[in-house]
């Protein structure tokens, strides 16, 4: 293998893995505060289509990025209101958000499907994704606010008794997660494959969800996990192109399989489970308990 070939492969891995890092790191923060948001796929699609439409209409990358972020704030804000104030079931609401997002993005993007655009250089986002992981890791382990987020996620009643605003904290983490998902979507439709086509995220939201579990809720592991998933996918393509026979379907399911294995591993021991998953994950918080 020549150096050029290897650099080329790394380049493709970087480009294809970045959306997983964005969506995954956002969901990680949301889950750290004890909320499970299964709506990533929907949020990504709406972020992708909003950015794309704005870019087509205004030709301005800044506006398109801004509106894409706003779409994430609005949609995840609705999700937060439902699960935090109305205390709806998080799993059902998240699934509903995904289904809603798929439909909404398809409807919004109907007229824009075949519009060619100039893509944006993916390297801005790749650099930002690394900085983001660093920032989140630092935030969760070293800052007071980060510790409050984790306290809320571990035991919301204790956190509340200590005087922390559980609802407000969760609003913020959900919206952070939503914005990160929109950015992942924006990256896909503007940088990765500059186009809008319905359902173009093709399940990356679900892989990002699996990734958070795979990483056992730790930011650096999430980054490593994302690059393992992305790297394996690109490597198998390279091996195929060289002529090595590989079970391609197997590689398609690998992220999910790896996640199940991690789940089995951390669930086999109560202590390990306790050290990994936020204890209040997916449990609604009632103030007047």
């Amino acid at each position: 293998m020549s150096i050029e070939l290897i650099i080329g492969i790394l380049n493709i891995v970087l480009i294809s893995t970045t959306p997983l890092v964005f969506a995954g790191i956002g969901e990680l923060v949301t889950e750290k505060s004890g909320v499970l948001n299964l709506g990533l796929e929907g949020l990504m699609l709406v972020g992708a289509v909003t950015g794309f439409i704005t870019l087509v209409l205004t030709g301005n990358y800044f506006y398109s990025l801004f509106l894409s972020i706003i779409s994430g704030v609005i949609l995840s804000g609705i999700f937060a209101f439902l699960v935090l104030n109305l205390m709806t079931n998080q799993i059902a609401t998240g699934l509903a958000l995904t289904i809603f997002g798929i439909g909404l993005s398809a409807m919004l993007g109907k007229k824009f499907g075949g519009t060619p655009i100039d893509g944006l250089n993916p390297y801005y986002f790749i650099v930002i994704s690394f900085l983001l992981v660093f920032f989140v890791a630092y935030f969760l382990s070293k800052t007071k606010t980060g510790l409050i987020v984790r306290a809320v996620g571990e035991n919301h009643n204790s956190a509340y008794a200590l005087g922390y605003n559980v609802i407000k904290t969760r609003y913020l983490t959900i919206i952070f997660g939503g914005v990160m998902s929109s950015l992942a979507g924006y990256y896909i439709s503007i940088c990765y494959a500059p186009m809008w086509q319905e359902g173009m995220t093709a399940g990356r939201g679900w892989i990002a969800l699996a990734l958070v579990v795979f990483a056992t809720w730790k930011p650096w592991r999430l980054l490593v996990g994302a690059y393992i998933f992305g790297g394996v996918a690109i490597m198998q393509m390279n091996l195929q192109a060289i002529g090595v026979k590989l079970p391609g379907q197997f590689f398609n399911m690998m992220p999910y399989l790896a996640t199940i294995i991690v789940l089995v591993f951390i669930s086999s021991n109560k202590l390990r489970l306790k050290l990994s998953a936020p204890s209040s994950l997916n449990i609604p918080f009632e103030k007047n308990q």
Binding site: G114, A193, M200
Partner: protein
């Protein structure tokens, strides 16, 4: 007074609805992707629109998009059959068994399954000889490649796709014996990101021409960005990659759809197998890109189109050997439709194995 008016109005509405239902035939479509994919599903939808325009008020059409090729397809097809549709087009290979399953339950509803090979009294199959187009692009690729390496992105190992690879390679190696094709199986028809990754991987490995048998225009776009050449898929994709798109194999379904719908309206529909190519206009080549292709290659391509139409040229002319070196089509003969329809082997010269 108001109540009277309302009663009369609703009565009128009822009459008009039933009048419409009485003489209009309902025609349904099952799509694997969104009509906005600018590839496979887009062309089926263009066919549907052509049919609507041709038959006017005698028919009305419905479609269900993004139907996965699993048990969900049964529900989608059944939904159309149960809601009074007279003719249902299922437009992807892996809807085959699902189509038959529903067809058994609704013997009065007519079904048309694209690219399949299982028929019943109320199930027809139809397909286009896309491989004729693959012969043309194979010829062009063989002449245009400088690195003698061609990247080929494919979806699933089904006869349709493998036939395309073989037709492409036979034509390319005929004009350029040194040509190699690198194949990546994506195991999805539609994932723009992954298709772009595959294209970039192939370009990185030295391919200077990208061929695809997947449904989005991401590979062509990736080729454009990397400054290499490409062929579009299913529809004319030149708008998305003007500096790399040499031509594209277009699927023209409209006339066939209109004819079959007319047959249902007239009550003359019968179950049959249709497989048409250049000759009947079901397959066409997009305009050859004069900025990228030298005039003599364009002329050669056009002559080949005519020769295939006339029958003087066949994409699978013997002698053809398989990878094991066995003679599968004898000299002076051409592959028959049976062999083409079930083709699951690579011809000699292609590296790698057909995935099982």
């Amino acid at each position: 007074m108001l109540r009277k008016i309302l009663t009369i109005l609703s009565f009128l509405a009822l009459i008009s609805v039933s009048a419409v239902q009485a003489d209009q035939k309902k025609i349904g479509f099952i799509y694997i992707g969104p009509p906005g994919d600018h590839g496979w599903t887009y062309m089926h939808d263009q066919g549907r629109i052509f049919m609507e325009n041709a038959l006017g008020d005698t028919i009305s059409t419905t479609y269900i998009e993004n139907v996965p090729e699993n048990a969900d397809a049964v529900r989608a097809i059944r939904k159309l059959a149960a809601s009074g549709h007279d003719l249902i087009f299922t437009t992807s290979f892996n809807y085959m068994d699902q189509t038959l399953e529903v067809a058994k339950e609704f013997p009065d509803v007519k079904f048309e399954h694209a690219t399949g090979f299982k028929r019943m009294d109320n199930v027809s199959t139809y397909s286009a000889r896309f491989y004729e187009g693959r012969t043309i692009i194979g010829h062009i690729a063989g002449k245009m490649t400088k690195t003698n390496t061609i990247g080929y992105i494919v979806s699933f190992p089904i006869p349709e796709v493998i036939r395309g690879i073989n037709a492409f390679y036979l034509a390319a190696s005929k004009v350029n014996p040194d040509v190699k094709i690198k194949i990546i199986w994506n195991y999805s028809w539609y994932d723009p990101g992954k298709e772009a990754d595959a294209a970039n991987t192939l370009i990185n490995q030295g391919a200077d021409i990208i061929v695809q048998h997947t449904d989005s225009y991401a590979p062509c776009q990736a080729a454009e960005k990397a400054g290499v050449l490409a062929f579009g898929q299913a529809s004319n994709q030149e708008a998305f990659c003007p500096n790399s798109h040499m031509t594209s194999i277009e699927d023209i379904w409209g006339p066939y759809y209109a004819a079959k719908a007319q047959a249902v309206v007239d009550g003359t529909w019968t179950s049959e197998d249709t497989w048409q190519g250049f000759k009947d206009g079901m397959v066409e080549m997009s305009p050859y890109n004069t900025k990228l292709l030298p005039l003599n290659i364009i002329l050669e391509a056009k002559n080949m189109e005519t020769a295939i139409e006339n029958g003087t040229l066949h994409p699978f002319e013997g002698p053809i050997y398989n990878q094991a070196g066995e003679l599968v089509v004898k000299e002076g003969e051409v592959a028959d439709d049976g062999m083409l329809a079930s083709m699951m082997f690579y011809v000699q010269g292609i590296d790698g194995e057909v995935p099982q």
